[in-house]
């Protein structure tokens, strides 16, 4: 396996699009329940936890970019092959792919669950999974540029939902956010840890990095993407805390969706129906990138044609989703995925950094030795 990746001019993208890739992956189903998860840990100071989480992610992102800069033009698979050798590298790469697969599956099943709770209690999950996976297959077949396009276009097409938060935001009870700093430091960090689950998704940087044309400009869009996601989570967290009372908030599974229930217009009411259905447009880019990551990884590691992986994984996921119709099953699965995401997304880059640096030093020494 080559450590460096050669991206053709057809697959190269401007760094500007990284913003959309990363933020669409971060904003998925997680945000629907984020406020109650964070609130459970750090109560009225949840917004501080969100900000702490943001700082942690920025720190991790710098580490990731630093790791990537050590190489010419590579992705995580190349780095792992270089650091751990072919065999162990492949194993770790497979772990990454399985993680992506699990995230993909949890996103799909959670969305189906939401649709079943809010709109169609009797619809078969199989049908919804088929719909979603057909969209995913169709767009992944278009290649990397189309995938980036999906992220970009759907990002723009879905952000009108934010305007629907204005009405609940006007009813915020600010006393719910007081007293400020009532939570202890441990509680704040626990809240931050709860937030980082929903902020997962930036690890895609390890995959798409070789496809970026102007690498010197990578930093800004990446940080802006995480910043934007944080802003949106902050908005939803603050609105939810202000709008719901603490007991209500903790008992709600998807408080963000409940916020839209009070919005009415003279020609349409109950915007929550529209939003839940429209959320499909939020998660499609999400699962499209994940699916691309899986097919791309399989090709890098095992030289399996991307189409083959795509078809097989899609069919398997549709079948598997048909059996995941128990709410608690889905919930615990998502929980496990989020927990493992913490290790893959946050801890792993920290562990990788010293190894990469050691390897580099060793190589330089070797090179110098040869020179002499």
């Amino acid at each position: 396996m080559d450590i460096n990746v050669k991206a053709g001019p057809k697959t190269e993208i401007r760094a500007f699009y990284l913003f959309f890739i990363i933020s669409s992956l971060q904003l998925g189903v997680g945000i629907m329940g984020a406020p109650s998860i964070v609130f459970m840990e750090s109560k009225q100071d949840s917004w501080i936890s969100v900000l702490i989480a943001f700082l942690i992610i920025v720190f991790i992102l710098f580490i990731m970019l630093y790791i990537l800069k050590q190489y010419e033009n590579t992705d995580i698979f190349g780095i792992q092959a270089d650091v751990f050798g072919q065999w162990l590298g492949k194993l770790l790469g497979t772990v990454y792919i399985i993680y992506f697969l699990a995230v993909l599956f949890s996103v799909v099943t959670t969305y189906i669950d939401v649709v079943r709770v809010f709109i169609f209690p009797e619809v078969s999950p199989f049908l919804l999974a088929l719909l979603l996976m057909s969209l995913v297959t169709y767009s992944v077949l278009g290649g990397f540029r189309v995938i980036v396009g999906v992220c970009f276009l759907f990002f723009i097409l879905t952000h009108w939902i934010l305007f629907l938060l204005i009405e609940p935001a006007l009813e915020i009870d600010w006393t719910h956010l007081q007293p400020v700093m009532g939570a202890s430091i441990t509680e704040l960090f626990k809240g931050a840890k709860a937030t980082v689950y929903t902020l997962l998704g930036f690890e895609i940087l390890f995959f798409v990095y070789p496809f970026i044309k102007n690498k010197e400009k990578v930093k800004l869009p990446v940080i802006l993407a995480v910043g934007w996601t944080t802003v949106i989570i902050l908005i939803t967290v603050i609105t939810s805390i202000g709008f719901f009372s603490p007991d209500q908030l903790m008992r709600r599974e998807w408080p963000v969706l409940n916020l839209f229930k009070i919005q009415t217009f003279s020609f349409i009411e109950r915007l929550d129906f529209v939003v839940v259905a429209g959320w499909m447009m939020v998660i499609v880019p999400n699962i499209v990138i994940l699916m691309w990551g899986i097919t791309y990884g399989m090709k890098r590691l095992y030289q399996i044609p991307q189409k083959k992986t795509l078809y097989i994984v899609s069919i398997l996921l549709v079948i598997a989703s048909a059996f995941m119709d128990n709410h608690f099953q889905i919930y615990s699965f998502t929980d496990i995925v989020a927990r493992s995401g913490f290790w893959v997304g946050y801890i792993y880059p920290l562990l990788l950094l010293p190894l990469v640096l050691l390897k580099k030093r060793w190589r330089r020494k070797k090179g110098r030795g040869k020179g002499v």
Binding site: R14, F16, V115, I119, F120, V123, L127, L128, L131, L135, Y138, S139, G142, V146, G149, V150, F152, L153, F154, L157, T264, F265, S266, F267, I268, E269, R270, L271, F273, V274, A277, G278, M280, M281, V284
Partner: protein, 501 residues
């Protein structure tokens, strides 16, 4: 067949006139139109032949026969060319297939017995209609003329619109069995070379027996023929054509076709009308935004009704709920069939109106729309609220300046209605997602169909989504990477004056 002819294509001449006549007549079996007359002069026999209705007969008589028969000198190819000095005179043709090809283009030939080639004079008589107003893309202000079926006339009109030596009109012959002339038109100093090359490549490598019209040619050379969206803009307006050519795109016109192909075209360009340019920038922007809005209305209004009435009565405000409910009460069909039925009726009206003569067509529209609509509501087959929705969406679908795109939008409604009837609002969103992904995947002449939305090009937005005052319009459409990116000097355009200056 063609191959065999090629093998015997050595020079035919010299040949006896009788023999030649027989040979020619055999090629035009059962065709009484070949005029072949033989004359004698100073012991030399000459044959003059042409197809009578393809040749300008007056000209042929006056300048050809008259001069030939009153000639004093001996008849030879050289002397004839000397004595009958028409520009199109040519004495090099000596192959039968060349003669056959030329004779079909309206050439008159003179053959002097014993010479080893024929003298040809091109004097075609091509019937054509006069330039008329545009029908499918009618505009209120601005130039009104439309292309005609005559290639020469079209070239003439284009040349007069773009008076520049930069304008290239490459000639390409297409068709295996019947040949059509196709012109590839672009501005040398502006058009992107890749685009020109791609287009030329596609035209030259195209293997078809014949081309019926430019719209058929467009379908042959499109990027994705499975798609429902047209990928090349077909226009009958010379001003629109000229405008896009000067912006650096590539145009193709086909003999015998009154529509020109413009490539590459973006999705959004199908909603631009030249009128937006002739209007003031703010009103032009308004009209353009109105057209985008109408696309959404055309595609999503009826499906939204179907979804709400079939599955989501919760989202209807209570006042509206009562009126919708009451009007639905007597309807015996489920909403999806009701909507499909009415949509179908509108399509029938449109189709009937288009096929019938204009005057009858209008009557049919009124009869169908008013009488049948009212009767349908009174009979309780449909709800009157749906009639309003259907009419609005039909109106909206006709606002697209491109007839092809308008048809696409109308057809798209049907799958959307079905999706809404099956899966409610989730189905509609699925449809939107699918359409968006499909549009992202499409290309036009290898360039993304959705540009400048994706790939995003901020500076081009004022060309497609809205318009800005002229001093902001100094750039060309950058997404297509023209060679020359600016239209005029921006510093002069952006100069600002102080008060009282």
């Amino acid at each position: 067949m063609r191959k065999r002819r090629k093998q015997e294509s050595s020079s035919l001449f010299p040949i006896k006139i009788d023999q030649f006549e027989k040979l020619l007549k055999s090629k035009f079996e059962n065709n009484p139109d070949l005029s072949f007359s033989v004359y004698e002069h100073e012991n030399k026999k000459a044959a003059v032949f042409y197809i009578s209705y393809l040749v300008d007969l007056e000209k042929a008589e006056e300048f050809l026969l008259n001069l030939l028969l009153t000639m004093q000198k001996e008849w030879t190819n050289a002397s004839i060319q000397n004595e009958i000095p028409l520009i199109s005179g040519d004495a090099t043709i000596n192959k039968l297939e060349d003669i056959l090809e030329k004779i079909l283009l309206g050439t008159a030939f003179i053959y002097i017995e014993g010479e080893d080639s024929v003298v040809s004079y091109m004097m075609p008589n091509k019937e054509k209609r006069a330039l008329t107003k545009a029908e499918t893309e009618s505009v209120v202000i601005g130039p009104q003329i439309a292309f005609t079926e005559s290639l020469v006339t079209n070239l003439n009109v284009i040349r007069w619109s773009i008076r520049s030596t930069d304008l290239v009109m490459e000639k390409i012959l297409l068709g295996k069995e019947t040949i059509h002339e196709v012109r590839l038109i672009y501005l040398k100093s502006v058009a992107n070379e890749t685009d020109v090359n791609t287009m030329r490549e596609r035209l030259k490598t195209l293997e078809v027996n014949s081309i019926d019209d430019s719209s058929v040619l467009a379908q042959y050379i499109e990027d994705s023929s499975a798609s429902i969206f047209p990928q090349f803009y077909l226009t009958e307006l010379p001003d629109r054509f000229a405008y896009t050519i000067t912006q650096g795109r590539v145009g193709v016109i086909v003999e015998n076709s009154p529509t020109a192909i413009i490539a590459p075209s973006t999705f959004l360009s199908f909603f631009e009308s030249t009128e937006d340019l002739y209007m003031r920038w703010n009103t032009g922007s308004f009209l353009r935004i109105l057209r985008f809005l109408s696309v959404f209305i055309a595609i999503f209004l009826t499906p939204m009704y179907v979804a709400a009435v079939t599955y989501h009565y919760e989202i209807i405000p209570s006042d509206l709920l009562i009126s919708i409910g009451q009007s639905r009460a007597g309807v015996p069909f489920p909403p999806i069939f009701e909507a499909l039925f009415l949509e179908l009726m509108i399509e029938l009206l449109r189709e009937a109106g288009a096929r019938l003569p204009t005057k009858v067509g209008q009557t049919i529209g009124i009869v169908g729309g008013v009488v049948v609509g009212t009767a349908a509501v009174q009979a309780g087959i449909t709800s009157n609220i749906l009639i309003i929705f259907i009419t609005i969406s039909a109106l909206a679908s006709f606002t697209a300046p491109s007839y092809l795109m308008g048809t696409t939008i109308r057809v798209l409604r049907f799958p959307m209605i079905i999706l809404a009837g099956i899966l409610g609002i989730v189905g509609i969103i699925f449809g939107i997602c699918f359409l968006a992904i499909h549009l992202l995947k499409l290309t036009s002449l290898g360039r993304p169909y959705l540009t400048p939305i994706y790939p995003f090009q901020m500076k081009d937005l004022n060309k497609v989504l809205f318009r800005l005052p002229p001093n902001f319009q100094w750039r060309r459409f950058l997404s297509f990477q023209p060679k020359d990116t600016s239209r005029y000097d921006k510093t002069k355009a952006k100069k600002k004056k102080d008060i009282d200056e």
